[in-house]
């Protein structure tokens, strides 16, 4: 399964995001706390948390498309991020769920957490456009 999903984007790799594990065919991503993600001292920058959520959303969509044998170029339509708690100076994790997969667009919900998965630090809803790679 892991080898069927395309590699993370250059942006995601550059930020230090990796695929930590797989859960029922969906990748769980993580990013270690580092200067590259720091906003106010010892806390995640809201943009870094948003970048992790967005990357997890795309990864979940690519995994689902792979399962269905579909090839598509992904283009962002929009994202809405809810910040629920401060991201502290430790590893953050995120996983996405494809809520609706249409022919041209997908709706994805994503959650990020640190110590306890049941207490998310941020959530997101994303809409992604899928176009034919040959276009």
């Amino acid at each position: 399964m892991a080898q069927e999903i395309e590699a993370l984007t250059p942006y995601a790799r550059s930020l230090g995001i990796t695929i930590e594990s797989w859960e029922e065919g969906t990748p769980i991503l993580s990013v270690p706390f580092d200067k590259m993600v720091e906003g106010r001292p010892e806390h995640y920058h809201g943009g870094a948390t948003g970048g992790l959520l967005e990357t997890a959303g795309y990864a979940a969509l690519r995994a689902e498309l792979g399962r269905q044998g579909r090839a598509a170029m992904l283009k962002p339509i929009n994202i809405t991020v809810q910040y629920l708690a401060a991201g502290k100076s430790r590893t953050s994790h995120a996983v996405g769920r494809v809520t609706k997969l249409g022919r041209r667009s997908a709706n994805i919900t994503v959650e990020a957490w640190q110590d306890e998965r049941t207490r998310p630090i941020a959530t997101a809803v994303m809409n992604v456009l899928m176009t034919d790679p040959d276009d």
């Binding site: 395309e6 942006y11 906003g39 920058h45 809201g46 943009g47 970048g51 967005e54 994202i79 991020v81």
Partner: protein
């Protein structure tokens, strides 16, 4: 309020705010500001690309750029550098940014209450009349009284 009376000057605050951490890694720079808005520049970088096979900036850095410009617009509008936290941020990506171009993020704080700050803004790659993204966000003042 005259320029001299303002305590929070975005052009002077940028070396401190973007000289380290996530904003420093992105290389955010000061571009312009007004009484209630701030514009920052995100220079083009090969390692910030999105989808393989497309020469397009990833959407994550635009989200970070807009979060940072919004926070600074709020400090500018409040004229106070106090702790704030993003509560909700929406980004609509209306078109891809041009290859090789800097992306500029301009955000305006259009409403301040005791507890909350409301912002809206856009990202463009040289022409603010032809944006690449629009944003809306709400920030909370961390130490403020818990009523709106």
């Amino acid at each position: 309020m005259s320029e001299d009376a303002r305590k929070f000057d975005p052009s002077k605050a940028i070396p401190f705010l973007a000289g380290r951490g996530h904003a420093g890694w992105l290389g955010l720079q000061y571009s312009d500001h007004g009484d209630d808005w701030v514009e920052l520049e995100l220079p083009w970088r090969e390692d910030l690309l999105g989808e393989e096979g497309q020469r397009v900036l990833a959407s994550g850095p635009i989200l970070s750029l807009m979060d940072m410009a919004s926070g600074m617009a709020i400090w500018r509008a409040m004229d106070d550098f106090s702790a704030i936290a993003t509560l909700d941020l929406r980004v609509d990506y209306v078109r891809p940014a041009r290859e090789g171009a800097s992306v500029f993020g301009r955000s305006q704080c259009y409403r301040l209450t005791r507890s909350a700050a409301f912002v809206r803004g856009l990202a463009h790659d040289g022409d603010a009349g032809d944006p690449v993204a629009h944003i809306q966000a709400v920030f909370m003042k961390i130490a403020a009284a818990p009523r709106l």
